[in-house]
Symmetry: C2
């Protein structure tokens, strides 16, 4: 499972583009994961959107996650659900989901990350890693040291979310994150595909350097 | 499955009593079904409430339904979920629920009732049967003739919900309803148990008369 570039669809900052349009454009730029997040649509309207994005991500070979609503995730055939601290607890979600269903969870502290691992999460998102205006209730950023601490504390993939853009994508990968989750930096841009491509190449380059810290030609033979 | 008296917990009109207190008192008065409805609590807070009510209803031999959130219903061990027209469609809910899980659905027209049957619903609620102030977005009452039409149109149990009280409980049972769902008439009363007991006895008496329309001593030998 690649979590390098994880794009969260958000109609409110999407410049009038639909969830499906956002997903398609982000995938064209190399997104590995699409998360559908919409706190406003009732379930009856969210489900067809989820079903549409499920088809789009499947065709692209990407992962499809639904924010919060595990019922929508299960009914639409999504790969998993992303849970916040106010959503269904990981343990409860695990109980009602099939074995291969992916459960991600947002945490703000190492202790929550360790608990999420115990409860059966598949990945952890430090949220918000930096301060963000995309999610009004997100609170202040936890910072790069907290990210580094969580990456050391748990063996699961850790994704940095909140305030991530081209200016700090390299930094969070160097701190140990497995990927970056973005809203504004991709969804809020005029050229979603171009913005996704730039973010993806920054992440890929940083991960390559991490795997081979002495640079090209200096690794073990 | 008895649906004679179906009590929907609602903290907002419950005079400060908790969902669990409301459920316990209503069951003591003979409620057959408890539905947990809370549109305000986040999932992480709703789940423990649901788990508590699950224990209370199980001990009482009553059914436990959760409004809207099938994830909370499944995770708490509830008997089923009650879906509105804006919630997950019945067909989608059926897909992710175990076979024995009960799915009820609110409808406003015979056509919706027939569709709900096709999609796999276990019971139908005509909502609102009469005008109600308990549910601000419920719209005007559909009336007794619509109720009668739906009872004729579908073979599933039909429950009357919305504006039901001691003054019209007999009427809706005579129209063919299998039971009455109440909020204000029970949950909003000082004495929940007494109010439930009164409603239950009205429903039981009306159903007995329906089964034996010529009165005691005049039925077939």
């Amino acid at each position: 499972m690649a979590y390098d570039l994880y794009v969260i669809t958000d109609r409110r900052i999407g410049r009038g583009r639909s969830h499906a349009e956002i997903a398609r454009d982000a995938l064209a730029g190399g997104a590995d994961v699409i998360q559908l997040r919409d706190k406003d649509l009732p379930a009856c309207d969210l489900l067809p959107v989820a079903c549409e994005i499920h088809g789009i991500t499947r065709d692209a070979g990407a992962l499809f996650m639904v924010n919060d609503r595990i019922d929508i995730a299960l009914a639409s055939g999504a790969d998993g659900v992303h849970l916040g601290q106010d959503d269904l607890p990981v343990r409860a979600a695990r109980r009602i989901a099939p074995r291969e269903f992916i459960i991600g969870v947002s945490v703000g502290r190492s202790a929550d990350a360790v608990r999420a691992v115990d409860e059966g999460a598949d990945y952890i998102a430090l949220s918000p890693t930096f301060s963000t205006s995309s999610k009004v209730d997100a609170g202040p950023g936890h910072g790069i040291d907290t990210l580094r601490g969580i990456c050391r504390a748990v063996s699961l993939p850790v994704i940095a979310i909140g305030g991530i853009g081209p200016e700090n994508a390299t930094l969070v990968i160097e701190a140990g994150a497995e990927g970056v989750a973005v809203i504004s930096a991709v969804v809020g841009q005029e050229d979603i595909t171009g913005a996704a491509r730039q973010m993806k190449s920054l992440v890929t380059a940083a991960k390559n350097r991490r795997g081979n810290p002495e640079g090209p030609g200096k690794g073990p033979l």
